[in-house]
């Protein structure tokens, strides 16, 4: 996708709609306004589906914990398969997360 760090090498492609996707990547904290929509998008994604939470914000809310608009981590709304900590994670850390996810998929997670 970008010149230096490329996950298309693993056969991962961007899709314009959750209906065409297998993996959802959540990168930000879930706001109260967005929670319902996240759930809806998750339901729209066909099975089997996997969720990656990238960054401290999506795992727990990170620095945004205790802000009035923020619900917290995404795992309060939908199940998460792989957590990638960091704020923000290095691109290679995200790739490491992708590899972890592939491991999980091949093992039948």
């Amino acid at each position: 996708m970008t010149p230096r760090f490329d996950v298309e090498r693993f056969g991962i492609l961007l899709k314009p709609s959750p209906r065409h996707a297998d993996v959802l990547v959540v990168t930000g904290p879930v706001t109260k306004q967005a929670a319902e929509r996240v759930k809806r998008v998750y339901e729209q994604t066909p099975d089997p589906k996997f969720v990656m939470a990238v960054g401290a914000c999506s795992i727990s809310g990170g620095v945004f914990q205790k802000c009035y608009g923020v619900l917290g981590g995404v795992d309060k709304v939908i199940p998460v398969d792989v957590y990638v900590p960091g704020c923000p994670p290095r691109p290679d850390a995200i790739i490491h997360g992708v590899v972890k996810l592939i491991e999980k998929v091949t093992k039948g997670g």
Partner: protein, 387 residues
């Protein structure tokens, strides 16, 4: 005349960020624009008054991932203003270096995104390749690629070492060469000119009246650059040129950024050459030493950024913290420049603003509606995290 409402956003491939615009169109021509922002609003200003000054700094840093250095720099300057402390000179130079490195990477990012948007993928890849080198330098100096956590109240966190100085100079030397090459492409390539010239017009008078900032204003011939007008950090001692283009369109705004990247590279080199010796931080009090207010205005990559803070004596939290980000100031101009244009020009005109709506809503590295669509998420991922 019958008009049709076209709603773009909050999740739209051309926006990359969750905002909504309602366009009233007549045929292909946009007649009126109504913005609705706030999809990622989460009350940072309120949260800041509930955290100590140092804790708040890390929240401020995450208002915007791309221009995080600009935000912390403004914050520490505003708080120093309120506290009445003066950072050491070397710290000011180091702040300038990191601030300008941040600007270089931000401008390269936007130039790349624009190229991708107009279908010029080769140039996108080339520019982003060079951007990686800048990110590496930032990581070397500060300890992280994106959120650098470098500026603190009273100075900077880390000193710079000699081998780092020579590394920065080496990297910037190659990048300067390449950017000069890209400048030729941007200036002469017929596809770029055909797509960008004339799109998203914003006249000088309108830019002034609507309070446009940064490259948006300078692309319309308004000569405002906080670095030159109200020198902060080390800008009073480092000479540089304010880039102004008179064409008033998307192309001019892009060219401003290309030229500014070159200027920034020069500023960094100048700073490194002139770097005074001495300490990089001074001790600061934990609690506010006086009831006061302070403000700081700086030129962030996207334009004028202002932080305004009220303190109360003996309190370790700010009484009120106000942030006005550049994109927020540019929204009225954005609406203006879209009026009278074609629907097809909307993405080009919007991207030429380098919109950063997270900033506007005062939130952090947030992606499009938090996982709404994979495509956009991965793109945001690419844009935001792969830096």
């Amino acid at each position: 005349m019958t008009t049709v409402n076209v709603i773009v956003g909050p999740v739209h491939p051309a926006l990359h960020e969750p905002e909504r615009f309602v366009f009233k169109v007549d045929g292909e021509v946009v007649v009126d624009v109504e913005p609705r922002i706030g999809y990622v609003h989460r009350g940072i200003e309120k949260a800041l008054t509930e955290r100590t000054f140092t804790q708040g700094l890390y929240l401020i840093e995450r208002i915007c991932g791309i221009c995080n250095v600009a935000h912390t720099l403004t914050a520490v300057q505003a708080i120093e203003d309120a506290f009445g402390v003066e950072p050491p000179k070397r710290a000011k130079y180091l702040r300038t270096v990191v601030h300008e490195l941040n600007r270089i990477h931000s401008h390269l990012l936007l130039l790349g995104v624009t190229c991708e948007l107009i279908g010029f993928d080769t140039l996108f890849m080339l520019i982003w390749r060079d951007r990686e080198a800048v990110m590496d330098v930032i990581e070397m100096v500060t300890g992280n690629r994106v959120t650098s956590a470098y500026n603190i109240i009273g100075g900077v966190r880390r000193n710079i070492r000699d081998h780092e100085v020579s590394e920065i100079k080496k990297v910037l030397g190659t990048i300067a060469e390449r950017v000069k090459e890209y400048k030729k492409v941007f200036a002469e390539d017929p596809t770029i000119r055909a797509r960008l010239a004339g799109a998203g017009r914003l006249s000088r008078a309108k830019a002034l009246a609507l309070g446009a900032v940064g490259p948006t204003a300078r692309g319309s011939g308004v000569k405002v650059d906080v670095r030159a007008e109200e020198p902060y950090a080390a800008f009073d001692e480092v000479p540089f040129n304010v880039v102004v283009y008179e064409e008033e369109d998307s192309w001019a705004r892009l060219m401003v950024r290309v030229d500014e990247t070159l200027e920034s590279i020069r500023i960094v080199e100048e700073c490194l050459n002139k770097m005074p010796s001495g300490p990089v931080k001074v001790p600061i009090p934990e609690v506010a030493p006086r009831s006061s207010e302070g403000f700081s205005v700086i030129e962030a990559p996207r334009g004028e950024l202002i932080h305004h803070v009220y303190t109360r004596e003996g309190d370790d939290k700010p009484l009120r913290y106000r942030v006005r980000t550049p994109t927020y100031a540019n929204i009225p101009s954005a609406c203006e420049m879209l009026k009278g244009g074609y629907i097809a020009d909307i993405p080009v005109a919007l991207v030429s603003l380098d919109p950063c709506f997270s900033c506007t809503d005062r939130v952090a590295l947030v992606d499009v509606g938090t996982g709404k669509r994979v495509s956009i998420d991965l793109r945001t991922l690419a844009r935001r995290y792969k830096k």
